[in-house]
Symmetry: D2
Subunit: 186 residues, 4 copies
Amino acid sequence: MLIDVINDFEFDEGAEDLMRFALPAARQIAALKERATSAGVSSIYVNDNFGKWRSDFRALIAHCIDDDTRGRPIVELLKPNDRDYFVLKPKHSGFYSTTLDLLLQHLGARTLILTGFSADICVLFTAADAYLRDYHLIIPSDCVASQNNDENERVLHYMKRVLKADIRESATIDLTAQSRTAELRG
Amino acid sequence: MLIDVINDFEFDEGAEDLMRFALPAARQIAALKERATSAGVSSIYVNDNFGKWRSDFRALIAHCIDDDTRGRPIVELLKPNDRDYFVLKPKHSGFYSTTLDLLLQHLGARTLILTGFSADICVLFTAADAYLRDYHLIIPSDCVASQNNDENERVLHYMKRVLKADIRESATIDLTAQSRTAELRG
Amino acid sequence: MLIDVINDFEFDEGAEDLMRFALPAARQIAALKERATSAGVSSIYVNDNFGKWRSDFRALIAHCIDDDTRGRPIVELLKPNDRDYFVLKPKHSGFYSTTLDLLLQHLGARTLILTGFSADICVLFTAADAYLRDYHLIIPSDCVASQNNDENERVLHYMKRVLKADIRESATIDLTAQSRTAELRG
Amino acid sequence: MLIDVINDFEFDEGAEDLMRFALPAARQIAALKERATSAGVSSIYVNDNFGKWRSDFRALIAHCIDDDTRGRPIVELLKPNDRDYFVLKPKHSGFYSTTLDLLLQHLGARTLILTGFSADICVLFTAADAYLRDYHLIIPSDCVASQNNDENERVLHYMKRVLKADIRESATIDLTAQSRTAELRG
């Protein structure tokens, strides 16, 4: 699950800071996504609609790339393909007022791998809602980022302690095993 | 609100029957939608995703028209424009596992005009869920259709009796008044 | 699942009519509930809170019996015991703004037996929401009632046609089989 | 809103620690609740059902007091009265699978005062869900507690930063002003 990776990063407060940590994380996410695809594990983009209720996801991607926005290098690394799923979320949590839960049921997913930005807001809100719904969580520490690195560390440990999330680094995740149990989303 | 008007009608059971009643209704919906637009009232397409979780709405419209499907004349009458909103629903009710309720809150809507097919299934499910959420309902009797005309009449009277819906014909709806109270969706 | 069986029937419009059909249905529900208990099948009362947000279920039962209300004979037939579950619903559908879905997941239920009043309103709304959530429905025709008997027949056939409900009479339901698959709620 | 204040504190891990901070907080909550009642502001108990789906709230209170549990002094300080509302929550967030949102709509509440235990789990989950639903939050820092005091401070500042919560001490909240706008829950 890729949370808010399609973003133009054209906001004033803290965009540069977040970008500094988000770009290396995006590289890790891209590598993990490639391994997930090879292992037959599907990917779901869960992305803000940024208050644009009429927009669709393809239009958002085109804007980020064609308008040469600050977020362009990340969007180019993480461009979705035709096999990927996407869910537009109107608020911080991917589960609030969206069809995500039903899509996960349809896919038979019980374990979710959460990646994206920012860890301390949209990833945390989505992870908490996933935990309420009894999903097992893997949140690789090198695939999330926040504006502030200390805050990023703290929220990772919060999610480990309270949400029982597995926060190991992405390279150590055995996607084949996950795929065998038909339970993983990348 | 236009319910399931974008449909290829390429199903076996009863598609011809529904089509016979749906085409005249679609003409009434198109006329009502034009008046709504003039009155500054926005339109929301609430449409099945037909189990295609990766599809988007534009792709569905293109399929209905380009593949010369049975539903093509209706889709051509009711093609959305850039100012329209759309919500893909995975099940019969437009409110179940979608962002519709939040979109209506965002628009400040308290009265909904429901139109589309079929009256006795998706329109009824959506109307019941709208009633639970305290929306006032207008369901113009000439803008909905079902496979069976008697069933269509019965469900209209059910929605009038139980859901307190106003089922007057579309030509008699005063959209300007609705617009003044900033409360209508077409 | 017993829908709105705890009711004082102290409303003006149609209470006598509904009562006439509800009392015989209540006798069938009581017999079915007894068989369900013997078969190890649990019962859930899903009941209106009647706009009394502070009330609890026990207080409602006491009111119906102690105040000698019109609904007293039905409440006496169907008094819950300590093994029964109850869910207070603020609106017509038992699933709307309640914990019912999570309780059913907790119990592992996939098939629901719906009984109660009135068939054409609260039973229908609850059945439709159950169908959206992929529950298999048994709605025994002798265990539901409406104010109008024709309407009762019509809604039963609607639930059979659209919601794929099994509407056989209660005496013919094999509760032991249901219990073996650990899937039934009475 | 009083979150998880009715608790027997009979769990192994950290109950003593939490109790040490929770008792002084309970005294502040009791004082705030008294002022709220005087100002005509209603109180809602949002409490775990502790996996006991058949239990009701009164039975839980009786257990905490009569069985002389560790939580007894807190429950005695914060015993609800007949004018209070209560909502049993099956999971950490008071909004998940409960009727809380509809109750708040019924009361016309737009501002919520959150109090209770533990700040870093149930209060945070509930506050995040309230924020998604556009409620304005007051979370008085002396009316919440966690097992670890540093963690308590951190989560308070997180809720201030991300959820825009007002975390001033309870004595400085002007309940009369809140009541005038008919928007407060204590």
